[in-house]
Assembly symmetry: C2
Homo-oligomer: 341 residues x 2
């Protein structure tokens, strides 16, 4: 193993002290322009590379941030992460991504692991499970900034970046009503999570505002998987008066529903219209493209990262948590529009 070059090596060569070298390298003001240049040039010449571990040990900052998502193979989360990277890389941070697969033990485990890895902050989208608030308290005890994105929980002093799920849902439902749909079903999801609760409420409100009858039987709870979408669609279609539209809180269940509807020989959107949520790429690529709600994930990631940077750089004891809410956009496609063919 090649000997690692340290600031001592370059100090020795230049007949200086490690302290001086350190200052020169860090652009400390208390140093002459001449030595600064000399040191920096020699550093490059000698192939010096800073030992980040040592710096982290000394400064207490690792320049790593943890990102925790339920899964990273969905375009939505992958894009959020991309946004975070774009904002944080230029500032010298690294991004460690962990997946929870919606399992509580993995979620708490990941937090502990990241804490153990001395991350300077954690950006996360909480999973369906009921992770104890205790873990989060640990973070605040340690003064490690925690920022929620998309799936948040209401914790005092914790910032979050979300979209206006209520409004996205409201728009989507309104759109279906404008298309002439009267009995609109809603594929919901674990409503202990705010996003799904709000999507449900937006849907409900749009129906009530339009003077249609709100029927609780048309709301079914499921999880965000294609097969689950199929299963609950089958249930709905078996009703005495089946729905003439389905608004799903997930693109994946919307896809499953579409499969089932087609299999039963019904036409989309003529017999039943379908709208999803998240604007996953496949909604655009399907032969029958799917109307969906775009959540501007990259922007969401960037904003969350910015909040982190603010918090980590602020000295003040009393933090003013931020609650940023982005506006979603309804993307109308074939699955719900009798006009677009």
């Amino acid at each position: 193993m090649k000997k690692k070059i340290t600031i001592y090596d370059i100090a020795e060569k230049l007949e200086l002290t490690a302290a001086t070298v350190s200052r020169a390298l860090n652009n400390n003001p208390k140093i002459s322009e001449k030595t600064r240049k000399l040191v920096q040039e020699t550093a490059i010449e000698m192939n010096y590379e800073q030992n980040t571990l040592a710096r982290a040990l000394k400064s207490g900052k690792s320049f790593n941030v943890g990102v925790i998502v339920p899964r990273m193979d969905s375009n939505f989360f992958a894009s959020v992460i991309r946004g975070i990277e774009e904002e944080l890389y230029p500032k010298g941070y690294h991004v460690i991504v962990c997946q929870t697969h919606d399992q509580e033990n993995l979620e708490t485990g990941n937090i502990v692991s990241l804490l153990n890895a001395q991350v300077d902050g954690i950006l996360m989208s909480i999973s369906n499970s009921k992770t104890k608030n205790k873990v989060f308290n640990k973070l605040s005890e340690k003064r490690v900034p925690l920022i929620f994105f998309d799936r948040k929980r209401d914790i005092p002093d914790v910032s979050s970046v979300t979209i206006d799920d209520f409004n996205g849902s409201y728009q989507a439902t309104k759109h279906l009503i404008e298309q002439g749909c009267k009995r609109i079903a809603h594929l919901s999801n674990d409503r202990s999570l705010e996003i799904f609760k709000n999507r449900y409420l937006g849907y409900k409100q749009a129906i009530i505002d339009s003077g249609l009858e709100f029927d609780e039987n048309l709301v079914v709870e499921t999880i965000s998987k294609v097969d689950e979408g199929r299963r609950v669609a089958k249930q709905l279609l078996n009703m005495e008066t089946p729905p003439d539209a389905i608004f799903s809180s997930s693109d994946f269940t919307a896809l499953g529903a579409i499969q089932e509807i087609k299999e039963q020989g019904l036409a989309i959107p003529e017999d039943i219209s379908v709208v999803g949520f998240s604007n996953e790429p496949f909604t655009r690529f399907m032969e029958l493209s799917i109307t969906s709600v775009d959540q501007s994930p990259i922007e969401m990631g960037r904003r969350a990262a910015k909040v982190f940077l603010q918090e980590v750089n602020s000295k003040s004891k009393t933090k003013q948590p931020q609650r940023i809410i982005l506006q979603p956009e309804l993307i109308i496609r074939k699955s719900s529009s009798k006009r677009i063919k």
Copy 2:
């Protein structure tokens, strides 16, 4: 900020030395069972948490490994990463994921960053770009294990875990021939990457072995995007004698091709059969399910992680690089089978 508990604190309380505490905590044999227990209990009691940075600084191991992929929002790469995690988490490692987006500057940049973060190893799938071997040499200089998975480059002493792309391609093409196809086009990709070269070669060999005429005009190079698939499919369909089958080296271009074929009013698989590569979930979920080649990504990830563990734990100077080749599996679906409906 709550004062961090260190081994000194617990040593003080127990009227011992930090050295003893360290030994007790690390299950060093040279210690009495009694003090070991005592120390460990007090550690828990005092809420002691090891400072991994300090340990890393001292031991030279960070227990972080870097994973570099072109992108993480494809099911294939996400699953490989999952496999890596499954193998490495139990061993106490963390996984830092970086994306290159097939850009050379990001690729080299990521390697440098990870190196900077003192990772104990790097598992990567190289991008399309022509990353200089120089960067890789740097890794071997530093004795940081490098393991390629899926997309590799032939570098002496570097281990790799790949699938038998030639065979996967050969099987897929054979299957199309058995279905009665005579003019089989191939959507290729950057053949400076081994995987795409081998997929091309497997395709070619299957055609030759079956006594069909190999026509170079039926091979078009593209990149793995849906829209690109559409574009080149259009080209192919415009030929004087268009193909009666398309074997794509990517599921995404296969999807684009299918869209174009349908748009032109042709029937799949009756007029044209289509086969993709990677077994992305959407190939199963499409209304017209797509035949594809499964690459067992989770297994690939696990194997790559195992190779890393071996290399990082081996003391020997002379490393014997491993070249593991997994066997792919052809999954036959509607897009290529006149029997499955």
